[in-house]
């Protein structure tokens, strides 16, 4: 399969989905069922890899692209991932023009509060998956407290956590 066709097929999937993994049924239908260029185990591996890598879970299309077409396929997957985001430009332009109005500011104030609730809900499945031991719970609690109480940049907290994981592995206690 050419990288161009792979891009179009993955773009079709990302364009008609509204969150990370919701494009998966379309990707499976196109690449596993119709074209037969990807196996189910490769698709599962792509999802697992995206969960273990930095960035959005929707990045699994990059791994899918790599499995199908090597580095060129991976780049096709990345392009399919970022292309729909360009639609945010006209939408933001439209929304930004309204934010000066008092009622629009009131709406956005309520949206900010609701977005906090949504982030809290999104934390639940990640916490259930990620906090499988006491040590990992301690890391999560310590990260929360440090970030809430200080202005420390998140990258240092992630680096400290990863260093703790390496130290644990050094002492033979994989987290």
């Amino acid at each position: 399969m050419s990288a161009g066709l792979l891009y179009l097929l993955l773009l079709k999937a990302t364009l008609i989905s509204f969150s990370g993994l919701s494009s998966m049924p379309i990707v499976r239908d196109e690449l596993v069922v119709q074209y037969g260029v990807l196996s189910d185990s490769q698709l599962n591996a792509a999802v697992a890899l995206a969960r273990a890598a930095p960035g959005p879970f929707g990045g699994y299309v990059i791994s899918v692209g790599y499995f199908v077409g090597g580095v060129a396929g991976g780049i096709a997957g990345w392009l399919a991932l970022i292309t729909p985001a360009l639609l945010a430009i006209p939408l933001t332009h439209f929304v930004a023009r309204s934010t000066g109005h008092p009622r629009a500011r009131s709406m956005l104030g309520a949206v900010v509060v609701a977005s906090a609730a949504l982030i809290l809900v999104a934390t639940v499945p990640i916490a259930m998956q990620a906090l499988g031991s006491t040590a990992l719970i301690v890391i999560a609690v310590a990260s929360t407290l440090v970030l809430a109480a200080t202005g420390l940049e998140t990258v240092w907290v992630v680096a400290a956590a990863a260093a703790t994981g390496l130290l644990a592995a050094w002492f033979g206690a994989t987290l």
Binding site: L15, F18, S19, G20, A46, A48, R51, A52, P54, G55, P56, F57, G59, I62, S63, V71, G74, L81, I82, P84, L87, A88, I89, L91, T92, A96, T99, P102, R105, S106, M107, L108, G109, V111, V113, A114, S115, A116, A117, L118, I119, V121, T123, I126, A130, L131, L136, I139, A140, V146, L147, E153, T154, V155, V157, V158, T164, A168, A169, L175
Partner: protein
């Protein structure tokens, strides 16, 4: 008050968070909220709300739409493109390398231990973002904040409404019951 903003500074923020934040789009959004709103003051709470809403109604990956919206809000087209590319390229490169060495990567206890710890930190990043987002509204308008947050939490947690519907409901509340000091 908005802190000093430059394309290089904005690029550094997206590059850093795109490269080092594990736990998916919500964790990265939370990390960016912390840097852009709380630490640098480049983005106001209302602008964050606008970008977050745009990211939810844009097809595709919410995080990348959020980055594009933030970049556009702060520095126009070059800001949008810088944010989109720098938030996505490092993670994509890491993912391609990990895919190429899939078997070896998942069998390496050192790598997996570090990734598991970074994922635990992502939980902390998200919880801290919730706190920084709610801290101001809770101080200024506690009753109103609870009236919006509690139903949003319950409706989303139990899957009664999609995130987009929750945001629409909150926006409707803000429209029908305007804040006294929203002007």
């Amino acid at each position: 008050m908005r802190g000093k903003l430059s394309i290089a500074g904005l690029a550094r923020v997206f590059l850093r968070n795109g490269t080092f934040t594990f736990g998916g789009g919500d964790a990265t959004t939370a990390a960016l909220q912390r840097e852009l709103v709380a630490n640098h003051g480049w983005l106001s709470e209302h602008e964050f709300g606008a970008c977050y809403t745009v990211s939810r109604v844009t097809p595709g990956t919410n995080l990348l739409a959020f980055c594009t919206a933030v970049g556009w809000t702060l520095l126009g087209f070059r800001g949008a493109m810088s944010a989109l590319l720098l938030a996505s390229i490092p993670g994509a490169a890491v993912l391609i390398v990990m895919t190429a060495f899939y078997g070896a990567a998942t069998r390496n206890p050192w790598l997996m231990s570090a990734i598991h710890a970074a994922l635990a930190a992502a939980v902390g990043i998200m919880l801290a973002a919730v706190w920084t987002l709610l801290r101001g509204p809770l101080r200024r308008r506690p009753a109103r904040t609870v009236v919006v947050a509690a139903p949003a939490l319950v409706l989303s947690l139990y899957g009664l409404l999609s995130p987009l519907e929750v945001l629409a409901l909150a926006a409707g509340f803000g429209l029908l019951a305007p804040e006294r000091d929203a002007a």
